[in-house]
């Protein structure tokens, strides 16, 4: 059974239909890439999964349980983390407070402390700036914080929305390394990216979204070699 199953969801903004009935699944331990042009509906899809937006039609199953109508905060406590588009760090809280909020659903103080140390190890810059207000961090630093914050909840699956946006080349590589590490440590990853090449290169499978529909899906290697994908998303 798939860890996450999305069945024929349709999403509207007012009268505008942003998602026109898409289905896909994510298996435990996989890295899945969701690629597509601007406005294709990638962000909307992720937000629907975590319960920030209610779909008008369709069903979402997480570990076999129907979460379509479950509120976002409960979904998070079931083990799903979401690194939102545009980072959305709590600008007026310190870096440390942001991280602590990441562990909001967890109870055990010691385990949280342990996770914190691991996050610091992965992002030393965050430890350096742990008392700085998050809003004054540079774009890249904020992205690290957003990732670190999501990891603090020790999720089973992590949804990432364009984590490489606005990052320097060296950092883009680093972020993808981190995603790979996260995956290797046993966390399932659903990754939305403009940087299709990089995303597909670390993913197991991928889906291509176009104006609210899935137009292509399959093995990541296969998609990388697909002419259509090459032309439309890899700029080759």
């Amino acid at each position: 059974m798939a860890m996450l199953e999305v069945k024929d969801i349709q999403v509207y903004y007012g009268m505008i239909q942003a998602i026109k009935g898409i289905s896909f699944e994510v298996n435990e331990g996989e890295v899945i890439a969701l690629i597509g042009a601007n406005g294709a509906g990638k962000t909307t899809t992720l937000q629907t999964i975590t319960g920030l937006i209610a779909p008008k039609h369709g069903e979402i199953l997480f570990e076999g349980q129907d979460i379509t109508k479950v509120p976002a905060h409960k979904i998070v406590s079931m083990g799903m983390a979401h690194v939102p588009e545009g980072r959305r760090v709590f600008a007026q809280l310190s870096v440390l407070d942001n991280l602590k909020l990441g562990a909001f659903t967890r109870k055990d103080k010691e385990e949280i402390e342990e996770t914190l140390l691991r996050v610091y190890k992965r992002f030393p810059r965050l430890e350096e700036r742990k008392n700085q207000m998050a809003g004054t961090l540079s774009g890249g630093e904020q992205q690290m914080l957003a990732m670190g914050r999501a990891l603090m909840s020790h999720p089973k699956i992590i949804l990432m929305d364009e984590p490489s946006m606005g990052l320097s080349p060296i950092f883009v590589n680093e972020i993808f390394d981190i995603i790979r590490e996260v995956s290797e440590s046993g966390t399932t990853v659903l990754l939305v990216e403009q940087n299709a090449k990089k995303a597909l290169s670390i993913a197991d499978r991928g889906y291509v979204l176009e104006t609210g529909n899935i137009v292509l899906e399959g093995d990541a290697k296969m998609l990388l070699d697909n002419d259509q994908v090459k032309k439309a998303y890899l700029g080759e």
């Binding site: 975590t50 319960g51 920030l52 959305r88 709590f90 007026q92 809280l93 407070d97 909001f104 004054t136």
Partner: protein, 293 residues
């Protein structure tokens, strides 16, 4: 001598403003809304205590507790019915709704209790402190109000800083969507905020009417506005700011009445507020939020 006793009177009035402002600031800080109905919740709180103590002969402590319970329930109900549907609406829409709620509470009180003034019996039993040959009298109400302010302020600050719910409130106030992604139950958090704010309103109502015993359906509205001013004065959203703002407002009001003009006291209070805001655009203790470009 005169000055000191004016000062004491100012602190006495100011502590009432501060107590109300704490509730204001709490709700504003988290829900980011100007709850114009706060003053009227205070009035309801006072009526409940009045009914319990003077009407039904219960002991004052029970009256206060009843009032706290009633206001907490009322606050949560108001939030649920009037504000929750507007979570995503413009701030102005919520402001107008709050004004509607304010009218509503006033008129409900008017229908239940009538327009006649009720004289509130003080719930404070400790005696007044008399200093300097009885020339300086600090009433028991003042002492209790100031102490209550300090305890509540310290309690709220500890709560916000160290408790999990407190951190959840801060997160919700900044970005409720992102807070949800942390697993924070936004509705419950805002309801809790209103519960705390309204419980404080009940205490404020009881203590205010203990100091100034005339109770009518409109008792809450002017102090409500003044407390709002006090909260802004101190930096709205800031808990110690509300306290300092309230005390200062009371002191300025009394001193300008005493030394400048009792008719222009309000104008002076407002003028001082304006000057303070021009120098410190986010109030005395408000955070200066710089927009990163």
């Amino acid at each position: 001598m005169g000055f000191i006793s004016y000062l004491v009177n100012g602190i006495s009035l100011g502590s009432v403003y501060a107590l109300i402002a704490l509730g204001y600031t709490m709700v504003y800080g988290i829900a980011k809304m100007l709850n114009f109905a706060h003053g009227d919740v205070i009035m309801i709180g006072a009526y409940v205590a009045f009914t319990a103590v003077s009407g039904m002969g219960m002991p004052p402590v029970v009256g206060v507790l009843l009032s706290v319970v009633a206001c907490t329930v009322l606050g949560v109900l108001i939030e649920r019915i009037a504000y929750k549907p507007l979570r995503k609406a413009s701030k102005l829409a919520v402001l107008i709704t709050a004004i509607g709620v304010s009218y509503f509470l006033q008129n409900v009180a008017l229908l239940i209790y009538g327009a006649n003034t009720k004289s509130f019996t003080s719930v404070v039993t400790i005696p007044a402190l008399k200093l300097m040959d009885d020339k300086l009298v600090i009433s028991g109400e003042t002492i209790v109000t100031v102490v209550a302010c300090l305890i509540i302020m310290a309690g709220l600050m500890t709560f916000m800083k160290y408790s999990k719910s407190g951190r959840a409130m801060l997160a919700v106030s900044e970005d409720s969507g992102a807070a949800q992604l942390m697993g924070v139950n936004v509705n419950a958090t805002i309801a809790l905020t209103f519960a705390i704010g309204s419980a404080l309103a009940a205490i404020a109502g009881v203590l205010m009417c203990s100091s100034y015993p005339a109770l009518t359906p409109y008792t809450g509205s002017m102090p409500g506005i003044k407390a709002f001013v006090a909260a802004v004065f101190g930096g709205i959203g800031s808990i110690p700011g509300a306290f300092i703002g309230g005390i200062l407002l009371g002191v300025i009001e009394i001193l300008s009445k005493a030394y400048i003009s009792s008719q222009l006291a309000d104008a002076i209070v407002f003028a001082v507020l304006i000057v303070v805001l021009l120098v410190k655009p986010t109030g005395l203790l408000g955070k200066q939020i710089q927009e990163k470009v």
